[in-house]
């Protein structure tokens, strides 16, 4: 019993350190856009080459999310500081702008990891040089990215 108490105290200290200091949860809320051919009722997965994407960040230099990549989907971080996120997407030579309007709500991931943003997509607007249509599948975008999760389909 005499040696038991220090051991318990030690164990409690170790456990409390371990649980407080490590955060291995994702805290980035990102939207998954899958590329499609065909129609909404009869969609086909497609792979697009020469994809370059960047977000329009007011007052900051452009930073490419994708650079001449060949892809079947893109993952877009949404802007937690504004009610919309705008992206310029270039497919080979032709470019489109996609504007995603969203409501933002902060939510707690855990006491260790802090907060992330929950986006509720209100609507999506786009130019139509290459992109034929954009279909919204899942309105909520949070930091918990599931396997094979898709938020929007981009039709070509």
């Amino acid at each position: 019993m005499k040696s038991g108490l220090p051991a318990i105290i030690f164990l409690v200290l170790v456990i409390s350190c371990v649980t407080q200091d490590i955060c291995d949860e994702n805290d980035q809320s990102e939207l998954v856009a899958r590329f499609k051919n065909g129609t909404l009722t009869n969609p086909d997965d497609t792979i697009v080459s020469g994809v370059t994407v960047y977000g329009i960040r007011e007052g900051q230099s452009d930073s490419l999310l994708y650079d001449s990549a060949t892809l079947s989907r893109i993952i877009l971080p949404l802007d937690p500081g504004h009610g919309e996120s705008r992206f310029v997407m270039t497919f080979e030579e032709n470019a489109d702008t996609v504007r995603i309007l969203h409501d933002n709500e902060a939510y707690l991931l855990s006491y260790t990891c802090g907060f992330a943003m929950l986006f509720n997509i209100r609507s999506i607007q786009h130019t139509s040089h290459v992109i034929r249509d954009v279909e919204l599948l899942k309105v909520q975008v949070d930091a918990e990215l599931l396997q094979d999760e898709e938020h929007i389909w981009i039709f070509f």
């Binding site: 960040r57 900051q60 999310l65 996120s85 902060a106």
Partner: protein, 215 residues
């Protein structure tokens, strides 16, 4: 130290045996001195708790407990505070009634319904975005009501005429863990951590019975 506190009521019992041959009845008020221990264990948490009970029927003690707790933490990612009042209403049943009328010690089993009205708030909330840059939300706050049930085992010992020491252990079941969809409260006053749908509690009380009736 803890062990000593738990055993103390039992060690002190022989001194009061046989002091009063009459049995006194009346409302008993108590304070939970284990709250003071939080000042050392979890100094961000401050609170006070009282209790009121009476043996209205033989061996049956209706109980009202009430209190107030606040918590306040500052961190790199956010500052958090919560606080509010709570009440628990229930009954204790004396499992081992003493045959000697002068002995007032009890070992009870009981149940409580608890309700807490409180608010919580996060300030200077940092929301990370690797691409767009960190966004700082000034404030998030919400007013909440928590409900829970408790099973209570307790020992109370009369250490001097009408003065009692007692402790209790409690198993708690939170009835509405989803009270805030966005931010699970760090503290539900009177219950404990809002992140757990089950919890344990402990009180250590000093009580005084107001001797209104003598039979």
């Amino acid at each position: 130290m803890l062990l000593l506190l738990l055993v103390l009521p039992l060690l002190l019992t022989p001194s009061v045996w046989g002091q009063d041959t009459l049995r006194t009845y009346g409302p008993r008020v108590g304070i939970d001195v284990s709250r003071l221990a939080y000042l050392f264990v979890d100094p961000v948490q401050i609170g006070a708790e009282f209790s009121l009970d009476a043996e209205l029927f033989p061996d049956i003690y209706p109980v009202l407990e009430g209190g107030y707790t606040t918590i306040s933490e500052t961190g790199d990612l956010y500052n958090y505070s919560a606080g509010g009042t709570y009440a628990r209403l229930g009954v204790d049943y004396n499992l081992f009634p003493a045959e000697d009328r002068s002995i007032h010690h009890t070992i009870t089993a009981g149940a409580r319904y608890g309700i807490s009205f409180f608010s919580h708030r996060a300030q200077q909330v940092k929301i990370p975005s690797n691409y767009w840059g960190e966004y700082i939300l000034d404030s998030y706050s919400n007013k909440l009501t928590g409900h829970w049930l408790e099973l209570v085992g307790a020992v109370k010992t009369e250490v001097a005429a009408n003065f009692f020491l007692g402790w209790s252990v409690r198993y708690k079941i939170l009835l509405n863990p989803e009270m805030d969809d966005l931010v699970t409260p760090r503290l539900v006053p009177g219950y404990g951590q809002g992140t757990g749908e089950r919890g344990f509690g402990f009180t250590y009380q000093i009580l005084y019975k107001i001797p209104l009736l003598e039979k």
